[in-house]
């Protein structure tokens, strides 16, 4: 689904919840939209107005890639996720549903190219390669992903400035997991 549809969805939802828009509720609505193939959902509030529009096929609303909220929504609404109510809640949701990452046009998201452990420094005693606000050259090491006892340096794809460090030092990292955001100069 094109980006502007995504946008419209969000706006509509925002209207409903007014000041207090909980991410959880947002997810629930998105799951409903996906599951029931809605292309439009409008809810006004107390006292009325519901408007629901379905698209062509029942499940035609698409679900998008890792990192996007649709991804998280799909997981949250899954049968087995629901079943997990019965079990101890997994931490997964907390750790993975890091929320939507908004990028400005001049920003680049650094994602992990492999599974492993994220380290901000070359050794336990050393200072971190970068901090938020650090200026970086193209090719400068940003962090390390340790995989199979190999230290893999992740280099900056461009010259710029580190605006956000997303991953936590020492934490396990999946393939494709967001590590940090670089503002390209």
């Amino acid at each position: 689904m094109p980006a502007n549809d995504q946008a419209r969805r969000r706006v509509v939802v925002a209207e409903r919840h007014g000041e207090q828009m909980e991410v959880r509720e947002l997810k629930t609505l998105l799951v409903l939209m996906r599951d029931y193939g809605l292309v439009e959902l409008e809810i006004e509030d107390k006292k009325g107005k519901v408007r629901l529009v379905r698209g062509g096929g029942r499940a035609s609303v698409d679900v998008t890639e890792a990192g996007s909220e649709a991804h998280v929504a799909a997981r949250a609404g899954s049968p087995i996720k629901m079943a997990m109510r019965h079990v101890e809640a997994t931490e997964e949701e907390g750790s993975k549903a890091a929320g939507r990452i908004e990028l400005a046009p001049n920003q680049k998201l650094i994602e992990s190219p492999m599974v492993g452990t994220f380290y901000r420094a070359g050794s336990p005693d050393a200072a971190p390669f970068v901090e938020e606000g650090s200026s970086v050259r193209k090719g400068q090491p940003l962090c390390i992903i340790e995989a199979m006892k190999m230290m893999n340096e992740i280099e900056s794809p461009a010259a710029g400035r580190v605006v956000r460090i997303i991953a936590e030092n020492g934490n396990p990292i999946e393939y494709g997991q967001p590590l940090m955001i670089i503002e390209v100069i």
């Binding site: 799909a74 899954s78 049968p79 599974v115 006892k149 990292i173 999946e174 997991q177």
Partner: protein, 461 residues
């Protein structure tokens, strides 16, 4: 007992392994590609790790990524399932080197059985019958071919030693035909593969694919859990498997079972494995190969023996001793597995898409193994096997009746499946009589050029 097991697979077998681990109290780590982020195995596992992009070689067959996931997330064992890395000796070895228990046989057994000519030689030496054929690297002269044919007995099959795909292949029924057709076949081989080397083997007209389930511990104890008839297959795809084989006598079962156990014992095999045979008329059978992993169709053996093969494979990998002696293995009733593929039943091409309505059948003697759920999108990148319907009952006719009822109840909307084909087969009089061979499916699905009369057999899992 293992504490945490990484499931290096996806789909129905990943679900199967996760369920077994839950029962054993082992926590699970699922791995997945970006194409599988919404997959059921990811949701069912205690933890899950994205290991790479959709292409299998970059994710489910990416050894460093899987090992890194296992060590990073603190797993102490890895179960490979079937397909992907399950018969990769390097992977088994790499697991061990990283301090991870590999749930399966030792690396050398995977490699040995993967080397088909070597496996054949070992089996032959151990007295396990193998399909008779030319010795060594093949024949180039007519008189050599004549000598081989005489030794094998007509009919024989001439094949190009260097190639496949039906090129250079001739069925020969007597000496005169051999004299006439050998040069033709050789000419074709020369044109197609630039080689005059030919290979002769015994030609079997109507054969069944009958395989024996092996269970072995690390202490040189091995038993078999009876056979599965997997003759209902098309190219590399088995469609229906059943146990017992409807034409096997108790005596033949014992004989083949002993040969299968011998095949495992002679190499000191451990864990689960399957010894595949071709069964010809008159109770003659030949070793084809040994699969060194759990099979797709392990469920039918579980139904008739009551043995949980996946739990056993984990126990064996932990070094537990086999709890069962051969004579304690009891066979109860009959069972069939129906593989449900996401495919167009008319054109036999994959049919990926979103499952808009999922309602599996249930009730007595009906077991469903699936990774589907309502709203799941079947990805295009992987095997189209989306479910296995496994039916058990007292007798074969009751299994067929129950299977018909269950298949008619099954609802998978949004994608096409081969359920209609299964229902057609269940109406077939020969199928109902148990009279069929590996060419059975050609009456229902378009025939394709096959490399040899039994070639499809050897690749089916």
């Amino acid at each position: 007992m293992f504490k945490k097991l990484l499931v290096a697979n996806r789909g129905t077998i990943a679900i199967r392994i996760i369920r077994a681990c839950r029962e054993l109290g082992i926590s699970t780590v699922a791995v997945y590609s970006t194409a599988d982020k919404d997959a059921l195995h990811v949701r069912m596992a205690d933890e899950s790790v994205c290991i790479g992009p959709p292409a299998a070689e970059d994710s489910y067959m990416n050894i460093p990524a899987i090992l890194s996931a296992a060590t990073t997330f603190g797993a102490d064992a890895v179960h490979p399932g079937y397909g992907f890395l399950s018969e990769n000796g390097d992977f088994a070895e790499a697991c061990q080197r990283s301090g991870l228990s590999f749930v399966g046989p030792r690396a050398r057994h995977i490699r040995l059985m993967g080397d088909k000519p070597r496996a054949r030689r070992i089996m032959k030496r151990a007295g396990v019958p193998v399909l008779p054929g030319s010795e060594g690297t093949g024949v180039t002269e007519l008189r050599e071919a004549q000598a081989d044919a005489k030794r094998l007995g007509y009919p024989v099959l001439i094949k190009a030693a260097a190639g496949g795909g039906g090129k250079g292949m001739r069925i020969v029924r007597d000496g005169a035909e051999l004299t006439r057709l050998f040069p033709q076949a050789q000419g074709e081989s020369e044109l197609s593969f630039n080689s005059r080397k030919m290979y002769l083997e015994k030609y079997l007209e109507r054969v069944r694919h009958v395989e024996f389930q092996i269970l072995a511990d690390l202490h040189r104890n091995a038993i078999h859990l009876g056979e599965r008839d997997c003759s209902i297959q098309r190219r590399h795809q088995k469609l229906i498997e059943e146990s017992p084989c409807p034409i096997l006598t108790a005596r033949l079962r014992e004989k083949m079972g002993k040969a299968a156990v011998r095949a495992a014992e002679v190499v000191g095999y451990s864990n689960v494995g399957t010894v595949e045979f071709l069964l010809a008329g008159g109770g003659v059978f030949y070793f084809i190969e040994m699969n060194t992993r759990i099979q797709v169709e392990h469920g039918v053996t579980e139904m008739v023996t009551g043995v949980d093969l996946v739990k056993e494979s984990i126990r064996m990998a932990m070094g537990e001793k086999l709890g069962l002696k051969q004579r304690q293995v009891k066979f109860d009733g009959a069972s069939m597995e129906f593989r449900i593929y996401a495919e167009d039943p008319e054109r036999h091409i994959p049919s990926p898409g979103v499952v808009t309505n999922h309602h599996p059948p249930g009730g007595l003697g009906v077991r469903v193994e699936t990774a589907l759920y309502d709203g799941y999108r079947v990805p295009v990148q992987y095997d189209p096997l989306i479910a296995k319907l496994i039916v058990h009952a007292e007798t074969r006719p009751e299994v067929i009746a129950r299977a018909k009822a269950a298949l008619r109840e099954y609802v998978i909307d949004g994608i096409k499946t081969n359920i209609p084909l299964h229902l057609k087969i269940l109406q077939d009089p020969d199928f109902n009589r148990g009279e069929f061979s590996t060419d059975f499916l050609s009456r229902y699905v378009p025939a394709e050029p096959e490399a040899a009369h039994h070639a499809p057999v050897s690749k089916a899992s």
